[in-house]
């Protein structure tokens, strides 16, 4: 059967104006102008040159793009930057202070909690959110509440151990 593709509107869409917004990224106020369809992930990587946050699947399935917005972990690939005007964003670049790694970063090194490292910024930001939420007390609960972060190298046991260490439960 022949398929016809219809657009939602018959009129050609005018390219909309870029929209100005302000984000506090890792404690620094950043002004930027983006098109409405710019995701927070693309804004961080392409507009602010913060490439620590990774684009994995770009569909909210892998968790590599996880950042904290106003203290909560989210998938930045499914978030429009314009919707977060005024928000506080924490990325992997914002975790170390004065050259000293965040305890979670150190724990990931201590436990060899990665191989290729591509998922690691998302894993660490997700773990930061998880610890702040305070709902995970056991390894089972950590596994469940970290299930939005896929590691194709399969470093899961060491990731759980690293998070337990950072929680002070190793």
């Amino acid at each position: 059967m022949a398929l016809t593709r219809k657009r939602a509107t018959e009129q050609p869409i005018q390219v909309p104006e870029k929209i100005a917004l302000s984000l506090t990224v890792n404690g620094v106020v950043r002004q930027l102008k983006v098109a409405p369809w710019t995701t927070l992930l693309d804004a961080l990587r392409d507009h602010l040159a913060l490439t620590g946050t990774k684009k994995g699947c770009d569909h909210g399935q892998c968790g590599a793009c996880t950042v904290l917005v106003d203290g909560r972990r989210i998938n930045s690939c499914l978030t429009l930057a314009v919707m977060k005007d005024g928000a506080k964003v924490t990325t992997i670049e914002g975790l170390a202070t004065d050259g000293v790694l965040h305890p979670l970063q150190q724990a990931f090194i201590d436990h060899d909690a990665f191989q290729c490292g591509y998922c690691t910024p998302g894993q660490i930001c997700s773990a930061l959110g998880l610890i702040a939420e305070g709902k995970a007390k056991t390894a089972d609960e950590i596994r469940e509440l970290m299930s939005g972060n896929i590691c194709r190298c399969g470093a899961y046991p060491n990731i759980v151990a690293a998070i337990l260490q950072a929680m002070g439960r190793s």
């Binding site: 909210g60 998938n75 429009l80 939005g148 972060n149």
Partner: protein, 338 residues
């Protein structure tokens, strides 16, 4: 992603005005499903109307002893809300059985209701799909239909509704409050979602110019005897093959009232009034539960790859009712099913 315009609604009335003025526009709240569908070229709105800042973020007790949940309460906040944990643990459990914590932090209560199916053919714009392109045909009927419906499907569409939260809301007899140009109205939960029939492009009875404002729970929460049991291909972060929300009110061993809703098996959360009625007044035994399962599944029919769901559903119904009767709800962290 396609180009689109962006506008922020200032209040509910403004949101309704804006959507009524542009039929090709869509509301955006959490965006977890809509942005994904836009990246896949399945949804092509001309404009997104951002409702995420509207004041619909509270959980309030109603005069009737129930709860009114604002449409923009994030799924994670709702799952962990003290009143939900205490009075409607079935709802909290179902929410935590779905998606990931990142997605639950983003996804809204109203948006969860309006999720589109995860049928692979709906997502694949290179294939016919009556839901995406009415009249083009259903690729799933003779395709890879392992995830698809066994109840309530039609010639046009065999897709399933993906939500876990909605299965619990169906079991709890929730109400959906909406607002539109003609004012406000409310749906019984069972009347909100539709079966596919000949119009699978319409998932719900919400009008295109209406907005979901709240979900209301009645007083009875079944906090003592309930479970949400979800069976899927991996232990976490996957859509249901079959899920069951079961809730019982017991008098000793006798069932005074029963609620049973299934996910992963139909175009909407599946409730069967006949099966619930058959449970009333009966002893809470395995035999009673098996009879109820037979009733729920009496018209079930499988396709080439999903016929296993019929027997699976039968077993999950019995196990869920057993868990509910025992007062030992399924943990969403410890995955062993007891």
């Amino acid at each position: 992603m396609i180009n689109f315009e962006y506008a922020r609604a200032s209040d509910v009335a403004d949101a309704v005005r804006r959507i009524a003025a542009d039929p090709a526009a869509k509301f955006i709240a959490g965006g977890t499903n809509l942005i994904d569908l836009m990246k896949e070229d399945v949804e092509r709105p001309s404009r997104l109307i951002d409702i995420s800042r509207l004041p619909l973020k509270t959980v309030e007790e109603t005069a009737g002893g129930g709860l009114r949940i604002g449409a923009l309460v994030p799924n994670s906040d709702l799952a962990y809300h003290p009143l939900i944990a205490q009075r409607y643990p079935l709802l909290g459990s179902a929410i935590l059985a779905g998606a990931s914590q990142q997605l639950r932090n983003m996804a809204s209560t109203g948006g969860n209701l309006l999720q589109r199916t995860r049928c692979a053919y709906f997502y694949d714009t290179a294939t016919p799909c009556n839901k995406r392109e009415p009249g083009s045909g259903c690729s799933a009927r003779n395709g890879l239909n392992r995830m698809h419906a066994i109840l309530g499907f039609s010639e046009s569409c065999i897709a399933t509704h993906p939500s876990d939260m909605c299965v619990a809301l169906a079991a709890l007899d929730a109400k959906v409050h909406v607002a539109g140009p003609a004012g406000e109205r409310a749906f019984a939960f069972a009347d909100f979602h539709r079966l596919p029939g000949t119009t699978p492009q319409r998932d719900t009875n919400l009008h295109p110019d209406e907005i979901v404002t709240a979900v209301e729970l009645p007083a009875q929460g079944f906090a003592k005897n309930y479970t949400y049991l979800k069976i899927r291909d991996r232990l976490s972060y996957a859509f249901a093959l079959v899920s069951v929300a079961a809730a019982l009110e017991l008098d000793g061993d006798t069932i005074k009232q029963a609620r049973l809703a299934l996910g992963g098996v139909a175009h909407k959360p599946w409730r069967d009034a006949g099966a619930e009625a058959a449970l009333r007044g009966q002893a809470a035994t395995a035999a009673t539960f098996a009879q109820a399962a037979d009733l729920v599944l009496r018209d079930a029919k499988g396709f080439a790859h999903n016929a296993f769901k019929i027997e699976l559903a039968r077993k999950v119904i019995v196990r869920a009712l057993t868990q509910a009767a025992r007062g030992t709800p399924q943990s969403q962290s410890y995955k062993k099913i007891r």
